[in-house]
Every structure is written in structure tokens, then in C-alpha cells.
């Protein structure tokens, strides 16, 4: 007789995994880690468009010129690890992060690849899967009244909650690099004070109370609850403080770089301090898609801003004692072609690329995985998006075997058969 149902399966299965050792020991380790229950947050510096791995963290100085490109490697503060000359600040923080050189994916088109990386599922036209941040928002909930998932500066395709529903969509911060930055709509318009708000709410409550008797729509409770949360957030000194990037010393703001990415990383740190669990920081949409003039765009714009933001974020988190509880990831949806094209650009390459991971128990100063002599193919420790997501969720304490039901009742696991990257954690 079947005794299985989805709601009870999780608890029972976990129990059994712990009980049955041997081949299933890996689950035990995961369960113990989750049980330790340290609040870990995550900041994702998202390189939308796909960043050239051979121009950053997987340089091939011995490859022919048409492969290795213009950039030269430099040494880092970890003997034996070299990265691109245009990442000098990052080179000084190499002891704090791990380079993973063996990402590979099955999608080579931006939209689909981004969807794959951020959800861990190959995209379907009939079902939108939730992004990492949305899953974390659902699983871990909000802390200290802060929204659990924030997109800096904005949300982009595939950032959303998909079938989990808009409640888990990211809260949008706006661009913290604009002068006089304020998070959108968190403060009242200049000509409206709280007394006026009181008058308005009094009237609105009267109207809504009357209308609710006339309509049985079940959205209304959620609508009212968000309205209340909005007022709470607007009046919360902690939230105001978290978003108040202007209160940072200007020297530190300069170190992060006066760019959307630099200030975004700084804002992300403040948000994590305030209780946000997952923050994406991006320059915009597909900025790294350098099909032409790759080397100029990289060295003049993309790498300097990433370098300052990433390096300063690691150092700042470390100084504040927050690095142990903050997972920092720098990555994009794929790498770029090993061979430089006729327009001095590099095209999409999903067979191998590099990402950088730091904090939250990840041992720094290491390189994991490897590619061949032209950075074309992974030769060691292949890691797919599913595996990366399994690692991220594991580190944040989300049970990856948990299963959701989509609106049509299709079961869908948080992670689609991924396995945590071996050796990532110290």
C-alpha cells in the first residue's frame, strides 16, 4: 500500500538518510551542516553576458596569441596563483577566495543560459523555475523585517520567483551609484508627511472596508499584508540605515569604486548587515557580451569596476568579521570563446569557464578544477549549474532534496540532481 505523500516525505526521508550510513554518508554531512544553523547570507556579483575566463581567472600565457589574447598574468598574494593584470586589487585578496575553473553548461544562448545558472534548471517554455534568491527567500524567510532577497540595482529576466509566486520576487534597490541615492519609494514624497499619510489611510481603509463586502477576491489579504509591510519598512530605522549608503566614509566608497557595481557591492554589504539573505549585484543586462573589441572594453570598463568591487567587498567583509557568514560569488552565465574572433572579440563559450567563490567556510587561496591548454574544455572536476546551486544552497542551509509542487502538480526539487562541489568547503 502506498504510504508516500509529498508533505511528509521530506522529514521521513531525511531521518532515514541519517540512519543509513555508508553510501549515503554525504547526506549525513549535509544534514549536520544544516543543523549547525549559522545564519549565512549570499552576495552574487553577476557578470551578465558572460565573462572571458581566459582574460581573468584562467589565463593561458603559453597558448598562441590568437587564444591567449592581449592580457598578461600577474602574481597574487598566494604563491602559484596568477590572474589577469587588470585585476590588481583582486590579486591582493587571493588568499580569501577560491577560483573554480571548471564550470560548464548546456546552454549557449544568453537568456537560456542565465535562466539555467540562476535556477539550476534548463528553461522550459511552459514553466518558470524560481531563481536562487527566490528559493532562499521562501526557505529562509525574512530577518529583522528586511526583505530577504534584494536585486541591486534592478531585477532582470530569470531573477524572479517563477512558479513560487511573486511574494518571493526580489525587492528592487535601484542604482546606489546615483548622487543622493535613496531606495525607491522608501521615503514619503516631499510634500507628504506622516499626518497626511494618516488621513489617506483613514480614507482608504474606509473605502476598502466597504468594497471588501462587495467582492470575494482572495488576493486582498496578501495585498493588505504587503501594504502593512510597506508602511513598516518605511518607518523602520534599521531599513533606512541599511539603505543609507551616504553614511559610508567616502574613502571606503572610493575603494569600492564609484560605479554601479562598486556601490552595489557596498550596498549589498550593508543590506546583509541589516538582515537581507541574498543580494544580486549587476552592472546591467549582458554587459560582458564582448563580441567585438573585447580587450578594450574589458580593461577600460568591466575589469576595473569588478576588480575594485570584488576585492574591496572581500576585504571589507573580512575586516568586519562578516566573511565567515557571507558567501560571495563572482560569476556570469558562461565564458567566452578561446579563440579571438576577427573583431577582436570573443563569442559565447559554455564548455568551460571560471567563477570565484569566497566566504562562508570556503577556504581561500585555491584553484579548483582545470581546463586544457587553450581553456576550451574542462579537464578536471567538471561542475554544472546544478552542482553549483547544490553547493550554494548547502552553504546557506537550504535542504536541496526538498520538493515543490508546481501549479499543475509537477514535482520539482529545489536542486535538479546536483551534487555539491567536492572540496569547496575547507
Amino acid at each position: 500500500m502506498p504510504v508516500s505523500n509529498h508533505t511528509s516525505m521530506f522529514g521521513r526521508r531525511d531521518f532515514m538518510r541519517i540512519g543509513s550510513l555508508g553510501a549515503l554518508g554525504i547526506h549525513l554531512a549535509g544534514a549536520l551542516r544544516a543543523g549547525a544553523k549559522k545564519d549565512v547570507s549570499c552576495i552574487l556579483l553577476w557578470q551578465s553576458g558572460g565573462c572571458g575566463h581566459q582574460d581573468t581567472f584562467d589565463m593561458k600565457p603559453d597558448a598562441p596569441l590568437e587564444y591567449r589574447g592581449e592580457f598578461k598574468p600577474i602574481s597574487t598574494n598566494v604563491p602559484g596563483i596568477q590572474i589577469c593584470e587588470h585585476l590588481p586589487y583582486t590579486a591582493k585578496q587571493a588568499d580569501k577566495f577560491t577560483i573554480l575553473r571548471s564550470m560548464h553548461s548546456r546552454e549557449n544562448n544568453h537568456e537560456r543560459a542565465i535562466n539555467y545558472l540562476l535556477t539550476g534548471y534548463l528553461p522550459l517554455s511552459t514553466l518558470e523555475f524560481p531563481s536562487i534568491g527566490s528559493v532562499i527567500a521562501k526557505e529562509l524567510g525574512s530577518k529583522d523585517g528586511m526583505p530577504p532577497y534584494v536585486a541591486v540595482p534592478n531585477t532582470f529576466p530569470s531573477y524572479g520567483a517563477g512558479y513560487l509566486g511573486g511574494e518571493y520576487n526580489p525587492f528592487i534597490s535601484g542604482d546606489p551609484n546615483v548622487a543622493g541615492y535613496k531606495v525607491r519609494d522608501l521615503t514619503l514624497p516631499t510634500d507628504v508627511d506622516w499626518a497626511r499619510v494618516g488621513n489617506r489611510r483613514w480614507l482608504l481603509d474606509k473605502m476598502d472596508a466597504k468594497y471588501r463586502a462587495l467582492d470575494a477576491n482572495t488576493d486582498f489579504d496578501a495585498l493588505d499584508s504587503f501594504q502593512q509591510r510597506a508602511y513598516d519598512l518605511m518607518r523602520s530605522p534599521a531599513a533606512r540605515k541599511a539603505f543609507d549608503i551616504e553614511s559610508e566614509p567616502s574613502a571606503l566608497r572610493e575603494r569600492y569604486g564609484r560605479t554601479p557595481v562598486g556601490q552595489g557591492a557596498l550596498l549589498a554589504r550593508r543590506l546583509v548587515e541589516g538582515g537581507v539573505r541574498f543580494v544580486t549585484v549587476a552592472k546591467g543586462w549582458l554587459n560582458y557580451d564582448t563580441h567585438g573589441d573585447n580587450f578594450n572594453i574589458m580593461k577600460k570598463v568591466l575589469l576595473p569596476e569588478f576588480d575594485r568591487a570584488f576585492a574591496t567587498l572581500l576585504d571589507d567583509l573580512h575586516q568586519r568579521g562578516m566573511l565567515d557568514s557571507t558567501l560571495v560569488i563572482g560569476m556570469g552565465e558562461f565564458g567566452r570563446t578561446p579563440k579571438v574572433n576577427k573583431d577582436a572579440g570573443r563569442d559565447h563559450h559554455n564548455k568551460a569557464w571560471s567563477i570565484a567563490l569566497a566566504g562562508a567556510g570556503i577556504q581561500g587561496g585555491r584553484v579548483l578544477g582545470a581546463t586544457d591548454s587553450t581553456a576550451s574544455e574542462v579537464t578536471d572536476l567538471p561542475v554544472q549549474p546544478e552542482d553549483l546551486l547544490a553547493s550554494i544552497y548547502g552553504i546557506l542551509g537550504v535542504d536541496t532534496t526538498r520538493e515543490y509542487q508546481t501549479p499543475i502538480g509537477r514535482p520539482s526539487r529545489i536542486v535538479n540532481n546536483g551534487h555539491p562541489i567536492p572540496g569547496l568547503l575547507a
Partner: protein
């Protein structure tokens, strides 16, 4: 206005205390194949009010010829060839059914497909989250829900050195030890050793775990008895019976080896043995699954008996809706008043609320046919074409991500012209499906963006024009439907001839042309597929025909079983708030329409009128069902799918922004577009607008219906965002103008109500507005606050 429905609530006594008037036995005249074959019988008592009760347990069954068919309680067992009538008696009533026993010279030959596979499906081994997952589970992979018995046999009996079966000691087979949890099993403890499932597996193992090809048969059809049923009262139950018909023409009662699943078990639950139990008023479907095939049975639950008044029908839509409401015993809401109808029909047809002037004129109009006249006017407005271009832009991926910067402008223009002149929908589909030429002049070629491969086009065409999701079948046979990978590839093969060449100096400019010789090869298998429509034959074609023409012929033929239904369901959803089939593009046997006769007749009517969209809109909006109020009565608050009241929903992002702009007289300005361009007219979704983004404008990269859940960013934006505050305070806006014109606060409040809610305020509302104005430091500020509250009110934010 039309007479309000008179609603009478009458409790009637429980079925058990009344005398039944008729007894019947299900199934009628069952066929049993093989000695020992079994068939369950169910006895149903019918009462004078039409309600039914499953009285199987209280009924006496007696076989007239026990030597042919023996009876044990309600179970027939086949003994020898021949016919045997079974008599049933209950409370003085009698009924009978005749069992026909064939091939009873011996037991049915053992069969892996018929004996073992159902067990694996029933206890869930081959479900998507267990061994039916794409990569299986713990090294053991089964085909999803048992679509590939050959592969499953190999996996169970031969793979991994045959470690899963132990012929010498069958009880020690892993295939038994695991689900009984005699050894650790990640899937848990699924069957007991004393269960029929265990017995079936063990019998097969004892017989040598054989698979004799000539004994193997597959299920070709499932029959569920009854195909639809009505349960009266919470806790009422009824046994479902399932009969399988096999490739060899035999049948078998597989009720005990079928997997039952309720689409909504908060309405009706179903036990593993197929017993329905009523939980809550409403309707749902039960999915019945046997290896490789699924079927559905509908269930209605009526909790309390109520007399549903007879309401006059305006057209056939009402006949079907009211018939359903009678079955479910749900009395409908009253017909909505003029103001509500006015605002609703504006939003549904042109995506905009009425102006104050339009509202005043309509409310004052004494013409008894003014509702129909209004619909006619709206259909001729240019905003109609804008609104439906937006809808189809959402559903046809009209975005520069696929069509490059200029494409969406070209495509929007094409869509606009199609709707402006009310192009018949069959022609609309044909032009999109068969277009060729330069993508920047032939707008319909936007259906074929360069990035979409044959498989993408197969999936999208089925979803958009047929309302059928075959995407699952891209990678595996569809778990909930009959579609296989061959069906998927057959659809993809219609698009193999679509090719592009570069044209002209402009970047990305391409010409779509037809390469007649090009075949479709599945990229994974390299196998060539010929075009084959869903449920249709393989098309004999040659290298001189544009296969897309064949597809368009098939899709738009009046006898096409999907095309018209898919469209009327989409339109129904737009007007009624919920599709007759939901999700709107997921028609399948296991997801039946809530009102099958209605969807069928709407489709027939639509085809008979030349696929005229205006005619369809007139038909829907003329119905009383469309015109019901969203105000619930005491009995229909929980109804979410029978259309006993109107289902309100939030204005879409574009409707909301355009309506706020119109109500305040302050239009939006979008970068690089003409001043006065409305949100609904934006050709593509990346034109910057925080408001539209935050209110869920779709990216158009996936095709799905809008989901509009409330969010924190929305709440903040309405409370303190610049959109509303700026517009109500704008010196060129309506408030500034009315104040300049020295209009009294009373007049201004009235104007606000008409501009936002399309109605006059009542005296209470006027008093509340007066109070708010008097509390403010000055009346201008107070009036702004009234305006703000109206624009934030649920009555404004919702289309009701």
C-alpha cells in the same frame, strides 16, 4: 435593470432517510478474460431529487450461473466460458448486469506489462521524483509512469548484473526488499508483504521474471465508470471502476492496480483503491493512470442542497453555465449594475477605464439595449486593436531579445492592423504560420525569429494555437497525456524548411525563405521525421510543398479538434477571469474543462461564424454569466470555477498605468516614443518604466499567462512612489484645472469618483471625503488625499 435572481435556500433531508427510487449496477455487462479474472461491481441508488448514493456495501449480489461467474460480495470471479446474469437487490429495488466470460480454459498468461508494470506505477516507483526522474534514482532508472516497458524490463531484470531479481530465491529479490523496506530504501516503505501488490510482484518472480513477447500487450484505452459523478454532502463516497482495453482486444478490471490522483483533493479525495470522498463544494477531476496511459473522470461535489432559481438565459452560454450551477446547486450572484458593467467591459475590450464623460453618458442613457450598443462601439475603437496587439505580443514573443531593435515595431504594426480590421482568426493563424519575406517589412515573419529552432516552433505552435502543451514530449513521453516524442518530432518537422538569408546592409536584417528540400532531423538521434500533426496521420508530402501550408490547412480546418477551443478558452479567460481550462494552454484528457458542453459550443459557434473575434466578444459579453456581479451571495463565496459570480482580478500593469494617466489627465512620457503613447501601445517590453516593471509587465521571452501577485515594491510604489503622487499634484493635471475653475470640493469629489470608479459617490462616501478634506491643512491637499485614496483603492485596482 433585469430582474434580480430570487434565491431560496431550502435544506432537504439527508439521502439516507429517504427511499430510493431506482437501483443500478456498474459496470454494465462486463467482459472477463481468463479463468480467475475478477470484476468489481458497484450498486448505485438514485433518489427522486436526482441525487445518487453508492450502496454497494448494503446490496445483495447473486449470480444466476455461479459455474460461469461466481460472486463473493461484490466481486465476480470468472469460472468458465459463457454469460451469467448477476442480480442485485437493495431495499426492495432490483437491478442486474450480465458478465460475459471468455478464454476461461486457463488463467490469463503472465505478462510483465499487465501484471508488473501497473504495480510500479501504482506504488509510485516510476514517478518523476523517484526512479522515473530523467536520471533515475540511485542508479535505478525507470521510464516515467511506465511509458517504456521494454526498457524497464531490461533495467529490472538485466542491468547491473541482474542484481534486482533473484530467481533462485524470489523473496530475496531487491525489487521486493526495497519497497517493503527490508533493506534501506530512499523512497521509503511503500508496500506491505501482505498486499496484493507484493503478491503480484512475487508471482511474477516465481514464474521466472519472464517477459514472453507473445503474451505482452499494452493498454490502448482506459474506461472510467462513471466518467462523471456528483457527490452530495461532505463525506459522501463513491467507488470508481477502471477497465483497461489491451492491444489484443481483451479487457481487464484494473481498479485495484490503477493509480488514482485528485486534481484538487480539497474538493474530492480519492483513495488508492479508487473511492471518492466529498470534501468541499466544487468540481475537480480524478486522474487515473496505468502504465503508459492516463484518463480522467470528473467529480462535482454539492455540499448543501439549495434550490437554484431558474434565471432567463440571454444565449447558449447561459444555458450551459446555469446547467452547471444547477448541478452544483450554487445560486448565482445578481446581475451587475450599469456602472460596474461599463467599467468591466471597457477594461476587457479596450484595456482602459471609461472617462468621466463616457461614464456620465452611459449611466444617463435610457436605451434598454445600451450594453450591447456599448460593446459594438468599443469593438470599433482603435484602442481595441492596441489592447489585443498587446495580448498577442505577449503570447508571440514580441521582444527585441528575439526580433532585434526594429522587429517589435514591425510586428506590433502588423498585429494592430490585423485587429483594427478584425481579421478572422483562422486567417490570422495562417498568415503567421506561413509568412515569408523580409522580417522588417513582412511583420508576420516575426513568428519565426532566427533563434527558434524547429522544436521551439513545434512547442509554441501547439501551445498558442492548439492550447496543448507538448513541451514535455521534447525529452520524454508526456507523463499526463498521450503525446510521445514521435508526436513532438512530427510537429517539429513542419518547420524544417524555414531558412533565413541576410538582406541588405542593416545589421540583423534577414529574409525568411523556404528551402523545400530540407528535412527535419532530431538533433539528438539524427533521425528524419516526416510532418505529422497531433492526433493526425503522417502527411505524405514532397519537396515542392511548403509544409507550413499543410500545417495551416490542418490547424484552421473546421474539424480541427483544438484550434477553435483553444481560442475561445483564451478569450473566455480574458472576459471571465478564469479559463474553462486552466492553465489556458493545457488542454488534456486529465485536465478537463470545467464546463465541457460550453467550451464545445463556444468553439462550434466561433467556427460557424467564420472565426470572427468581434462576434465571439459580443456573444460572451451579452451573456448574463458575464454580467454577474462580483458580489458573493451567502452560497457562492467559495465558487472559483463555476462562474456563479464575476471573478475580479487586478488591472494589468498597462491597464493600471493608462487608467491612472487618464484619470489624472497626466500622460506618461516614454523615452523616444511620441508624447501621448499609452503603455498598452508600447511595442516591446524593454521600454523603460518602473511602474510597468513593478506591476509585472511580462518579459515576453516565455509564453505564459500573467501572474500578478501583490508585492512589496508595488505596495511601496503606490504609497509613496512618484507615479501617483506626481500625477495627482501635477499643475497640468485634472485637480489643478478643477481648482482653477473654482469647482466646489463636492463637484471635484464627484468627478474623481467618475474618473476612477466610473460611478457617482454615495452620501456616506461624500461625507468621508468631506471629513478628509476638512482634516487637511487646505482643501487642495485634502482633495489630493481623496484622489490618492481612490487610486489606491481595491475598487480601482481591480477589474470587477
Amino acid at each position: 435593470m433585469r430582474t434580480a435572481a430570487l434565491i431560496v435556500f431550502v435544506s432537504i433531508s439527508l439521502a439516507a432517510t429517504r427511499a430510493p427510487v431506482k437501483l443500478s449496477v456498474e459496470p454494465a455487462n462486463p467482459m472477463l478474460f481468463g479463468k480467475g479474472a475478477k470484476q468489481l461491481l458497484v450498486a448505485i441508488a438514485r433518489y427522486s431529487d436526482g441525487s445518487e448514493e453508492d450502496v454497494t456495501g448494503k446490496t445483495q449480489f447473486r449470480s444466476q450461473k455461479p459455474a460461469v461467474a461466481r460472486m463473493d460480495a461484490n466481486v465476480i470471479t470468472a469460472e468458465s466460458n459463457g454469460g451469467a446474469t448477476v442480480h442485485a437487490t437493495y431495499r426492495g429495488l432490483a437491478a442486474e448486469t450480465t458478465a460475459l466470460v471468455q478464454r476461461a480454459d486457463g488463467p490469463p498468461p503472465p505478462s510483465f506489462n499487465a501484471d508488473v508494470m501497473p504495480v510500479l506505477t501504482k506504488i509510485g516507483c516510476n514517478g518523476g521524483s523517484c526512479h522515473g526522474a530523467l536520471n533515475g534514482q540511485a542508479g535505478f532508472k525507470l521510464s516515467l509512469f511506465g511509458y517504456e516497458p521494454d526498457e524497464d524490463y531490461e533495467m529490472i531484470v538485466r542491468k547491473h548484473d541482474g542484481r534486482r531479481v533473484n530467481i533462485a530465491d524470489p523473496e530475496k529479490s531487491l525489487i521486493l526488499l526495497k519497497p517493503t523496506f527490508q533493506v534501506p530504501h530512499g523512497g521509503g516503505h511503500l508496500i506491505r508483504k501482505d498486499s496484493p501488490e507484493y503478491d503480484a510482484l512475487l508471482a511474477w518472480l516465481k514464474g521466472g521474471a519472464q517477459r514472453v513477447p507473445e503474451n505482452e500487450k499494452r493498454v490502448v484505452a482506459l474506461r472510467v465508470t462513471p466518467p462523471s459523478s456528483v457527490l452530495f454532502g461532505k463525506g459522501a463516497s463513491r467507488q470508481l471502476l477502471v477497465t483497461a482495453r489491451y492491444t489484443d482486444g481483451t479487457e481487464r478490471d484494473i481498479t485495484r492496480t490503477t493509480k488514482f490522483q485528485s486534481n484538487d483533493d480539497s474538493i474530492a479525495k480519492v483513495s488508492p483503491d479508487g473511492v471518492l470522498t466529498a470534501e468541499r463544494g466544487g468540481e475537480t477531476a480524478i486522474v487515473v493512470r496505468a502504465p503508459g496511459i492516463a484518463a480522467g473522470a470528473k467529480v462535482d461535489v454539492v455540499l448543501e442542497s439549495r434550490i437554484v432559481p431558474t434565471v432567463a438565459s440571454n444565449n447558449f452560454i447561459d444555458d450551459h453555465v446555469f446547467a452547471k450551477l444547477k448541478t452544483l446547486e450554487i445560486p448565482p450572484s445578481d446581475v451587475a449594475d450599469d456602472a460596474t458593467f461599463l467599467r468591466r467591459v471597457y477594461l476587457d475590450i479596450i484595456g482602459l477605464i471609461p472617462t468621466a464623460q463616457e461614464a456620465r453618458a452611459f449611466l444617463a442613457d435610457k436605451n434598454p439595449n445600451k450594453r450591447a450598443a456599448l460593446v459594438d462601439q468599443l469593438l470599433e475603437r482603435p484602442e481595441y486593436a492596441d489592447f489585443w496587439s498587446l495580448y498577442w505580443g505577449d503570447h508571440l514573443n514580441n521582444t527585441k531579445q528575439l526580433l532585434y531593435n526594429k522587429g517589435p515595431y514591425v510586428f506590433t504594426r502588423w498585429l494592430y492592423q490585423a485587429f483594427r480590421r478584425n481579421m478572422p482568426y483562422d486567417q490570422f493563424a495562417r498568415e503567421l504560420l506561413t509568412s515569408s519575406g523580409n522580417m522588417y517589412t513582412a511583420g508576420a515573419t516575426s513568428y519565426f525569429p532566427l533563434m527558434k529552432k524547429e522544436e521551439d516552433l513545434a512547442s509554441i505552435t501547439s501551445q498558442v494555437f492548439l492550447g496543448v502543451s507538448i513541451e514535455c514530449a521534447r525529452c520524454h513521453n508526456h507523463p499526463l497525456e498521450k503525446w510521445t516524442r514521435d508526436d513532438f518530432n512530427g510537429m517539429a518537422a513542419f518547420f524544417s524548411q524555414v531558412r533565413y538569408k541576410n538582406a541588405g546592409p542593416r545589421n540583423n536584417e534577414r529574409v525568411l525563405y523556404v528551402d523545400f528540400k530540407r528535412q527535419f532531423k532530431n538533433p539528438d538521434t539524427n533521425r528524419v521525421y516526416w510532418p505529422k500533426p497531433l492526433d493526425g496521420p503522417v502527411f505524405a508530402t514532397n519537396n515542392e510543398v511548403d509544409r507550413r501550408e499543410l500545417l495551416a490547412d490542418w490547424i484552421t480546418a473546421p474539424q480541427n479538434p483544438f484550434f477553435a477551443k483553444a481560442l475561445v478558452n483564451r478569450m473566455w479567460r480574458n472576459f471571465m477571469g478564469r479559463g474553462l481550462v486552466e492553465p489556458v494552454d493545457d488542454f488534456r484528457i486529465t485536465n478537463p474543462a470545467t464546463n465541457e458542453p460550453l467550451v464545445n459550443e463556444l468553439a462550434k459557434d466561433f467556427a460557424a461564424h467564420g472565426y470572427d473575434l468581434h462576434q465571439l466578444i459580443r456573444r460572451i459579453t451579452a451573456s448574463r454569466a458575464y454580467q454577474f456581479s462580483s458580489k458573493p451571495n451567502a452560497a457562492n463565496r467559495d465558487d472559483k470555477m463555476a462562474y456563479s459570480r464575476h471573478y475580479s482580478r487586478r488591472l494589468t500593469a498597462e491597464q493600471l498605468l493608462d487608467s491612472v494617466s487618464q484619470a489624472t489627465d497626466v500622460p506618461e512620457q516614454y523615452r523616444s516614443l511620441y508624447p501621448g503613447t499609452r503603455a498598452t501601445q508600447l511595442p516591446e517590453p524593454e521600454i523603460e518604466s518602473y511602474f510597468l516593471e513593478v506591476f509585472d509587465r511580462p518579459s515576453r521571452q516565455l509564453i505564459c499567462e500573467r501572474k500578478q501577485p501583490p508585492t512589496l515594491n508595488q505596495a511601496l510604489h503606490l504609497i509613496s512612489g512618484d507615479t501617483i503622487q506626481k500625477k495627482i499634484g501635477d499643475p497640468r493635471g485634472v485637480l489643478a484645472r478643477l481648482v482653477d475653475e473654482k469647482r466646489s470640493p463636492r463637484e471635484i469629489v464627484e468627478e474623481f469618483y467618475l474618473r476612477t470608479l466610473s460611478r457617482f459617490p454615495d452620501e456616506d462616501e461624500r461625507a468621508a471625503a468631506d471629513a478628509a478634506v476638512s482634516k487637511a491643512p487646505d482643501s487642495r491637499q485634502g482633495l489630493e488625499d481623496v484622489f490618492w485614496a481612490l487610486l489606491n483603492s481595491k475598487e480601482f485596482l481591480y477589474n470587477h
